[in-house]
Subunit: 269 residues, 2 copies
């Protein structure tokens, strides 16, 4: 772990990241010592920092620190957290905060191969996500909804949980973005009121555009989901997992999902 | 600062309080070495811990650690944070987490006497609070809404900002609870969808009951607020501040507010 450029494992207990969740983060893969999709991740990080008024450290600085960890940990999950730094009392941010940057690596989880090939069993979470357009799409540190949702199941056969919003629209997985396939078209939930707009979601949308596959970002109901030909989940650690089993939805054939999975894992964009 | 019983100023950077805002807090006053309303604060802390599934440390343990700080800092603001502790990756909480407790003190801000006596100027925040019934009322560490709201003004004459929810109902101040007085009755916003139910709000409600003043917890619109005879804000640090100036509301007489203020500052309950 590298904290503000130095090896370390702790932060000041008056850091606004702890006090208020006042910061953002990203998770990406290091494979064979190489950061996967780093410039795109950096763009997202910078966008999210700007959305809450934090000045993002430069891509050179963060890239160098990630590169340092990649030397000793060439196959790992890397996590970057940027917070508004230590503070005196009060919610109002200082004019020129000393941003905290925390770069860490951890082992890549050993998921069964069947998750990617034969699909996963998914749980429908009871918690409904609240709407906050000012924070929607951003990967910020206020993640209690995800924590409470992930605490709802403990059956190890269930690999992910799906979240609806307060109006009953499908939004995402607890740690992944969601797509459905119907009649050869892709659909993914609109995230303008809540949810996290992950990089792999963006990559799938861009891939569809390149392949001239119609991909609609729209409101999706649970009925839309259950009537899909295929459902799949994406994030930077898992890649793409087709959904085998969700509520009344069941499927064992995922031709479109597996085509996109192949591209996501091997595509350069 | 005392962290898990030992003097210190830092926490592990993999603490879930930082990663996800997975924790709760309280702020209370120490006056002449005495913790004000400590048993009531502890009840709130314990309630909030339970709401997100954290086992709260005992009142004896936390009280002893606060007492230790009160010896060297007999007039101060004390803050208690309880988090779900350090973690491996993933939103799902461990079965038996090692809870982190952080006890700190800071100086009592030197607010002008006029705030309590002649009232304050208040800003109407543009940010609208999202609804999340599962977290409503709880003083948890996901406070980005408060941060963004408090960043909206920097006029030092403005002492607090008022927040409405996504439906336009009045909820609270950025760091205080709100009451209005009309025709001798008290009204305070319902906090079942969002907001923080502070201890001083509870004390005012209890005081009204004892005094047989009608106090309604209800939905309040901005029009209700602007048509009030008096508006006041409460929290454990400021006590009670009447509102002198808010949007189109203006007042210089606060007989009911000042009566409640007197009791809040000197009442034993």
């Amino acid at each position: 772990m590298i904290i503000n450029g130095l090896p370390g494992d702790s932060i000041y207990a008056n850091d606004r990241g702890l006090l208020y969740g006042d910061g953002v983060f990203r998770t990406l893969l290091i494979r064979h010592g190489k950061l996967l999709h780093w410039p795109q991740h950096y763009n997202k990080l910078q966008h999210d920092c700007a959305a809450i008024g934090i000045i993002c450290p430069s891509i050179q600085l963060l890239g160098a620190e990630l590169g340092q960890l990649a030397l000793s940990d060439p196959d790992a999950i890397a996590k970057i957290m940027i917070t508004r730094g230590p503070a005196s009392r009060g919610y109002a941010p200082a004019a020129n905060p000393q941003v905290t940057r925390i770069i860490s690596t951890s082992g890549i989880p050993d998921y069964p191969d069947s998750y990617a090939a034969q699909g996963i069993k998914v749980y429908l979470c009871k918690l409904r996500m609240g709407h906050q357009p000012r924070l929607a799409g951003i990967k910020h540190l206020n993640r209690l909804e995800n924590v409470l949702a992930a605490a709802e199941w403990n059956n190890p056969d269930i690999a992910e949980g799906i979240l609806l919003d307060q109006d009953g629209y499908v939004i995402e997985g607890t740690r992944s973005n969601l797509f459905l396939v119907r009649d050869g078209k892709l659909f993914t939930p609109d995230l303008s009121k809540c949810g996290v707009a992950g990089l792999q979601r963006e990559r799938v949308i861009n891939y569809a555009r390149q392949q001239r596959i119609i991909c609609k970002v729209t409101e999706l109901t649970l009925d839309d989901l259950l009537a899909a030909d295929e459902i799949f989940l994406v994030n930077s650690v898992i890649g793409l997992w087709p959904v085998r089993d969700l509520h009344r939805f069941s499927s064992q054939h995922f031709p479109v999902s597996l085509q996109i999975q192949e591209w996501l894992n091997n595509g350069s964009n």
